[in-house]
């Protein structure tokens, strides 16, 4: 029987790619300081934006990895997750509630925990290039959040 332990994903990924013949290890982002923004008001008054690493399950979303904004209503039937590194041998991404909980967030907002869900949710690609993420995609997501008057954000990497 396997014991519980925190899976060392950074080490596993390094060893997995070395086994595929890659000689240069990926260097994970690391910072000594962490920015922190306190909530600007009570959560009950906040509009929440949801951000995912899954791409829209559309012709464009399947073909082009980039930042997307998609309508939160109606909840999409599926998201494109094939290119992401999730644990494909033990689970699946057929239930959006397991990684993109739009329905659960809507019901939680109706219960008064926060004010509302933004009209759009946002996709951001996982990138080998930290520069693409930091200089292109993160500012792109910020711009969309500001357009939609998002007060707080929930980010869900697969």
């Amino acid at each position: 029987m396997t014991e519980k332990y925190d899976v060392p994903y950074m080490r596993r990924t390094r060893d997995f790619y070395r086994a595929q013949g890659y000689e240069k290890d990926y260097v994970w982002a690391h910072h000594d300081e962490t920015p922190f923004a306190p909530p600007p008001k009570s959560l009950r008054e906040c509009r929440l934006g949801l951000i995912t690493t899954a791409m829209p399950d559309t012709v464009e979303g399947r073909a082009k990895r980039q930042v997307y904004a998609s309508m939160t209503t109606p909840t999409p039937h599926s998201m494109y997750t094939d290119e992401l590194s999730w644990h494909k041998s033990v689970t699946h991404t057929g239930d959006l509630g397991s990684f993109l909980p739009l329905d659960h967030l809507r019901s939680t907002a109706r219960a008064g925990v926060f004010e509302s869900l933004s009209g759009r949710f946002y996709s951001v690609p996982t990138e080998y290039s930290k520069r693409n993420t930091a200089e292109k995609d993160a500012p792109g997501i910020l711009k969309l959040c500001r357009e939609d008057h998002v007060d707080v954000a929930m980010l869900v990497p697969l």
Partner: protein, 129 residues
């Protein structure tokens, strides 16, 4: 995703990350992180487990509201319904798949060369694990 979180925080938008790769997120450093100890792919709980999913949405919102400073990590006590064998399985490398991985790497590099030649400037962070 951690870099996106940091950018939003720097620009005044509070964030909470819900994920299952503790070492990756903490290595980067984020404001608020709810760690759910599940296989990658279902950070809110197993497909169909609606009660866990809703409970974790609520827990994440509570963290968003209550964290008092950066690098705040909360963990949940929920376990994966199928046991813990998945922990050893992810991105496993041993004698049973070493040759397969070597061949996979060769094919992947050929695809990367072709993609670069066609002008593609983006590549997934990690894939095929």
């Amino acid at each position: 995703m951690s870099l996106v979180s940091r950018h939003l925080e720097e620009n005044g938008i509070p964030t909470v990350i819900i994920g299952s790769a503790l070492d990756v997120v903490e290595h980067c450093g984020v404001a608020r992180y709810l760690h759910t100890d599940f296989p990658l792919g279902n950070p809110f709980g197993a497909p169909g487990d609606i009660l866990s999913q809703i409970g974790l949405v609520r827990r994440a919102l509570k963290l968003l509201e209550e964290a008092e400073g950066p690098n705040t990590t909360w963990r949940t006590s929920l376990g994966w319904r199928g046991g813990d064998e998945w922990r050893d399985d992810y991105a496993k490398v041993d004698d049973s798949n070493r040759e397969e991985l070597r061949l996979r790497g060769e094919k992947r590099r050929q695809r990367q060369i072709a993609a670069k030649a066609s002008g593609e400037t983006r590549a997934p962070m990690i894939s095929e694990a």
